[in-house]
Amino acid sequence: MSRIKIFDATLRDGSHAVNHQITKEQIRDYCLAMDEAGMYTIVVGHGNGLGASSLQVGLSLLTDHEMISTARKYLRRSKLGVYMIPGFGTIRDQLIPAIEDGVDLFKIGCHCTEADTTKSHIEYLAKNGKEVYGVLMMYHMASPEKLLEESLKMQSYGARGIILMDSAGASTIEMVQSVVSLLCENLDIKVGFHSHNNLGIAVATMYAAIKEGATIVDGTLAGFGAGAGNCQLEALIALLQKCGIKTNTNFYKILDCVDTVMPKIMNHSVSPDSISIVSGQAGVFSAFKVHVLRAAKTFKVDPRDIFMEVGRRKAVGGQEDIIVEVAQKLRQQNFHRQENYQIEALL
């Protein structure tokens, strides 16, 4: 038995990359190909989780119920997982229907400093015997001590593990090491990591997290995900094999899915392109990319400037509405330009 549990976020985080237009057929094909590949859980839903389909972050093609019930039909071995952020979704409107639809595993997330907003949700799920994990998003914005404090809260609510999300891909290797080691030393529950590839090190940061004691790997096939994408699971699994860390996965099944199913889901390959690198450097939630590019076009401003300004304002995940305002302001400023974001980026 491997101590590493893989949380497959391909259909969930990948949803961002295709404007939340994942179809029932794609969910079916993916679940059929991956059910026996050794994933601990396969997570489905809108990129921002249950209840997040909105004009703010993007309307979803399918309802939460349609996505969950489709995946439910094809998953036997892997647990069916969902993600939810309180403030987008609620117990009454999202969690109870998801339980009725047969979801096995829940991840409840919040901005990394706001763990107490997940209290009622984690407690509700734990009391009802559901497997529930806490997620701290944008973890680069808080100190290791603060992250430990927030993780301890989630542990006290009944979470079975804490997953840190590098939602902006703004992590350095050293940041991962210091935070994960502190959490592993002080928590009684599992620690997990979810990395973004904005600076080209998503597999490396995940590996660093595992070396410090993380046992939950939250990543995606082909790195499919918001912005520059996530930790590419097949590459990580190969690396872990070389390093003697067992994953108990069916490697060829995973590669077959990457080669045959993923091309039908992904309409473009994800990589750290120029815009995504700026996004990571600015520390902006990776899923803002689509919205920034659209606003840059509408208001005729440099998308890199939007990222730098949004980063400076310390926007958190879900604050996509700030983009239109920033783009409008930049357009007005362009005539008598006061800011030089390029210089700021290099400081």
């Binding site: 403030g87 919040c110 509408t298 879900g318 509405d321």
Partner: protein, 310 residues
């Protein structure tokens, strides 16, 4: 008619103040206390919570206000202490309090998202609200966005397919009640959007931002509308914002309605008056300002009725 009753001299000599009790001594209750001190029509006769050690209770004691740690029991023991009760506890507690306050015949203004009583946005339905015995102030996000959503819808109600709002507030301004009521917040705000705009499809999202220095309260309103008349909508939105500014001085449009990406969008910022919490806590300010507006209107009516029967 009521304008004839003006306080004579300073606030101290005003003989016609109506007594109000505040239950809940957190951020919202404490902010109400400070605003009531400025009111020409209201007097805080009781400030009651669960602990005599809270920051709010200490502030109230310093100001010579009667305080109690018996929460609602303090009102049950002395029902004559007030005509108006502000409930600034949490949704679960208000469900219990509301039954008692109804029996005691107190005009109750509920600042939790419990939604027991009539939903109230002063600029939209103040007059109807003072006729009932329990008024619900929805949520801070509701007070900020529902009137603008209503203005947007008023131009051509049939063409509006969907309305969505996003409220972002600073972490520091969200007290324990707000945090534990995050589900009630989104559900109650959404219900208010549907009720006041008569649009079935609505959604509310709340975001807490922990940036330092704390961010101002910021609200975005989105609408899906067939062929929107942007100039007529802009006129209606600006007019509504001006009317809200009369009781929420820090309310201002961040940008006028724009039609982009197939959606109509406008945003508003609320800067607080810096009463109990600093100015970033516009979310606190907007709901307490709205509650005071309702209470003052009720008080003026009561004073008028009493002067007639005297």
């Amino acid at each position: 008619m009521m304008s004839s009753i003006q306080p004579k001299g300073g606030v101290e000599s005003q003989p016609f103040k109506v007594n109000a009790a505040i239950i809940g001594t957190g951020n919202i209750g404490s902010d109400l206390l400070i605003k009531i001190e400025r009111s020409q029509w209201l007097k805080c006769s009781l400030f009651t919570g669960r602990s005599l050690n809270s920051a709010g209770i200490k502030k109230a004691s310093e100001r010579g206000v009667t305080v109690s740690a018996k929460s609602i029991d303090a009102i049950i023991e002395d029902p004559s202490c007030c005509d108006i009760v502000f409930d600034a506890t949490n949704a679960e507690s208000h469900k219990y309090h509301s039954k008692i306050l109804h029996r005691l015949k107190k005009f109750t203004i509920d600042l939790t998202p419990a939604r027991v009583g009539k939903m109230c946005v002063p600029v939209l339905n103040l007059k109807e609200c003072i006729k009932v015995d329990n008024v619900n102030m929805i949520t801070c996000g509701g007070q900020a966005t529902v009137p603008l959503a209503s203005a947007i819808t008023s131009v051509n109600p049939e063409a509006v397919k969907y309305i969505e709002i996003v409220a972002s507030i600073s972490s520091k301004s969200a007290g324990a009640g707000t945090r534990s009521n995050i589900d009630e917040f989104t559900q109650t705000t959404r219900d208010a959007l549907s009720y006041f705009t008569k649009t079935k499809n609505t959604k509310a999202i709340i975001i807490l931002n922990s940036a330092e220095p704390p961010v101002h309260m910021r609200n975005t309103i989105y609408a899906l509308i067939d062929n929107p008349d942007v100039s007529a909508i802009t006129k209606a939105v600006k007019n509504m914002a001006q009317r809200i500014q009369k009781y929420v001085p820090g309310y201002r449009l961040l940008y006028e309605p724009v039609f982009e990406n197939g959606r109509l969008t406008t945003a508003v910022e609320v800067i607080g008056q810096g009463d109990f919490l600093p100015k970033y806590a516009g979310n606190l300010d907007i709901i307490t300002c709205a509650a005071i507006e309702v209470a003052e209107h009720y008080a003026k009516n009561l004073i008028y009725e009493r002067s007639k029967s005297a």
